[in-house]
């Protein structure tokens, strides 16, 4: 034990430094947002929540926040439902081209987001579609689908088909067996997939920036703001988003861990 101790300490130290490097920018961001002054400085010169208050006066941010939230909620729900349908086909049936369909559904994961965004921009412009809400909905579905498909297909494949068959043999119609037996089993995975999709959509900047014709998403709005202004409003907004994401990830963890215990 003692022979391992020094190495143990070195590993701990490296670990601590790495974690610090990851967390530090967020700490500084929160610090900046609490500035009493008008400059983005760290450490903050006096503490104040005025930049958080200021958010309420910035209708651009509020409007962008509404759009971003709507996109995140909408795309996570639609993409979980679509993944569920896809997963039933992929996990329960064999058909020609099955592997191809799965690869196709997962492919947005391997294409760089800049390319996806550019692709959407060029295609939609060519079609004469300059409606941000429509374009961004389509884009966010494309981006979130690989995450949800992956989680839901894995969950359904991991569930023995015999459970549903047992329910059917006991008199449950196939659809009823699916909702009463299968859904409760994969429920935690559906929630996890939804949270995944929500966060992916909520924070997306790279691809979304190409499609902000008439409306902006929050990350794009923040980016625009820090390019033109120097007060800590953007920092306050970013800190707020960090808090929201942390809460969502906490929920996600709770469900994933619960799921792991339930299946053992």
């Amino acid at each position: 034990m003692t022979a391992h101790a020094p190495r143990h300490i070195v590993i701990r130290l490296i670990g601590a430094i790495l974690i610090m490097l990851l967390i530090l920018p967020i700490f500084i961001l929160v610090g900046v947002s609490l500035n009493a002054g008008v400059e983005q400085t760290f450490p903050p010169q006096g503490l104040s929540l005025r930049w958080y208050e200021n958010l309420a006066n910035r209708s651009g941010f509020i409007e962008a926040g509404r759009l971003t939230l709507g996109l995140a909620v909408g795309s996570s729900i639609v993409s979980v439902l679509a993944s569920l349908c896809a997963a039933v086909a992929l996990a329960r049936y064999t058909f020609p081209g099955r592997a191809f369909v799965l690869t196709l559904l997962l492919s947005p994961l391997i294409v760089p987001q800049v390319v996806v965004g550019m692709g959407f921009l060029i295609t939609l412009s060519a079609l004469g579609v300059f409606n941000s809400l429509f374009s961004l909905s389509l884009l966010h579905l494309t981006i979130t689908l690989p995450f949800t498909v992956r989680v839901v297909v894995a969950a359904l494949s991991g569930m023995p088909a015999s459970l549903e068959q047992a329910a059917q043999s006991l008199g449950a119609r196939p659809l009823r067996a699916f909702f009463e037996i299968t859904i409760p089993q994969i429920g935690p995975s559906l929630v996890a997939a939804g949270v995944f999709a929500f966060v992916t959509s909520f924070e997306n900047f790279t691809a979304s920036q190409f499609l902000v014709w008439d409306r902006m998403t929050l990350p794009v709005a923040i980016y625009t703001s820090i390019q033109t202004e120097n007060d800590p409003t953007a920092a306050a907004l970013s800190s707020l988003i960090v808090v929201i994401v942390v809460v969502l990830i906490a929920i996600f963890h709770r469900f994933v861990i619960k799921h792991m215990f339930a299946s053992s």
Partner: protein
């Protein structure tokens, strides 16, 4: 309780023929086992009866062809190999699930569930979740759940394979008692011959998508229809021989190794025919100097290995040259020793003439 008739059932996956024309008739209240090695098509047959698989041929339950009838209307109880208990439902909810699907009123449902809890000795476990049950308890819940719907018949897929040896033996006895008590037509599939012999009234031996023999446990053991059955049910020693002489039911034949033996068989053979016969390991006697010979056949050989198994010894004996014989003896011999094996002409089973 229903009678079940399968006629020329065929099934192919892609180009692979899994079932090659299976015909089988189960009488009402019959307890039958389909016994075969893995991949013989026995589970496919079960899935077909349950309504979970396409097939060609005809399947009648109580004289009515059930082709195209979905599983939820068949009213067949199934006990799955992994039990398939609903993890998010308690024991009582699991057992009552089928009754709930039939919209049975709560008081009657509770009454029936508690009756099954008694029958399967699950008292005190009603509010537990499957994750907190032992293997044997899970199996009992699965059986109770299948019986709750008062099914026309019961299907069991390798019902005891997940249990340890001691529990398996207990459940064998219990399963048989329950089946007799409820009087339900039951079909189960297994690759374990002991399980099949212990449980079923009728044994159906299957291999490569075909039925090889249907009979009572003693039928398939004492009168196996062919080499596959002889080798699969119990252990056997197979010998090839040429018929030299026939006197009534007594056949004199020469083994390929040169030994001349006499067999008693009602099998129709002619002089000059090549035959295959089987002698079970427990049919050999180790001769002593004072053993009466009578008309017994004698093989001589050396003991290759001797294993003590508690109730008996298992010996491997090599006859002159290379032929190996499995012998189950009541006494031991040391390895390397020369032995004389006696067997009676009645104990040979002529398989093919």
């Amino acid at each position: 309780m229903a009678a079940v008739e399968l006629e020329d059932i065929r099934l192919s996956y892609g180009g692979l023929e899994v079932l090659k024309g299976v015909s089988l008739r189960l009488a009402s209240s019959e307890f039958a086992a389909i016994l075969g090695p893995s991949g013989c098509g026995k589970t496919s047959l079960l899935r077909i009866i349950g309504g979970f698989s396409d097939y060609k041929g005809s399947l009648r339950i109580d004289g009515r062809d059930v082709a195209g009838e979905p599983p939820h209307r068949r009213n067949i109880g199934i006990v799955f190999q992994d039990y398939a208990l609903f993890p998010h439902k308690t024991v009582a909810e699991n057992i009552g699930y089928g009754l709930r699907m039939r919209s049975i009123a709560k008081p009657r449902l509770d009454e029936r569930v508690s009756g099954l809890v008694d029958l399967l000795k699950l008292q005190g476990l009603e509010q537990r979740y499957p994750a907190h049950l032992s293997g044997g308890q899970k199996q009992r819940v699965a059986i109770a759940r299948a019986l709750a719907i008062e099914p026309k018949m019961l299907l069991l897929d390798e019902p005891l394979s997940a249990l340890d040896k001691k529990l398996r033996e207990e459940m064998q006895v219990e399963l048989r008692q329950i089946q007799k008590k409820v009087g339900i037509t039951t079909l189960f599939v297994t690759h374990d011959q002991e399980e099949a012999l212990a449980l079923a009234d009728t044994i159906v031996i299957m291999t490569e998508g075909r039925i090889r023999q249907i009979g009572t446990p003693s039928d398939v053991y004492l009168r196996p229809a062919d080499e596959f059955v002889a080798g699969f049910v119990g252990q056997s020693n197979l010998f090839n021989a040429e018929v030299m002489k026939i006197e009534g039911a007594t056949i004199t034949a020469r083994l390929d190794g040169g030994e001349v033996v006499t067999l008693n068989s009602k099998e129709l053979v002619k002089t000059g025919n090549r035959i295959t016969f089987c002698v079970r390991p427990e049919r050999f006697c180790l001769s002593r100097p004072d053993t009466q010979m009578n008309d017994a056949n004698i093989f001589e050989g050396r003991v290759d290995h001797a294993v003590f198994l508690g109730s008996h010894w298992q010996l491997g004996v090599t006859m002159n040259g290379s032929r190996k014989i499995k012998v189950q003896a009541s006494e031991g011999r040391s390895e390397g020793e020369t032995v004389r094996l006696l067997w009676q002409p009645d104990n040979a089973i002529v398989l093919s003439a």
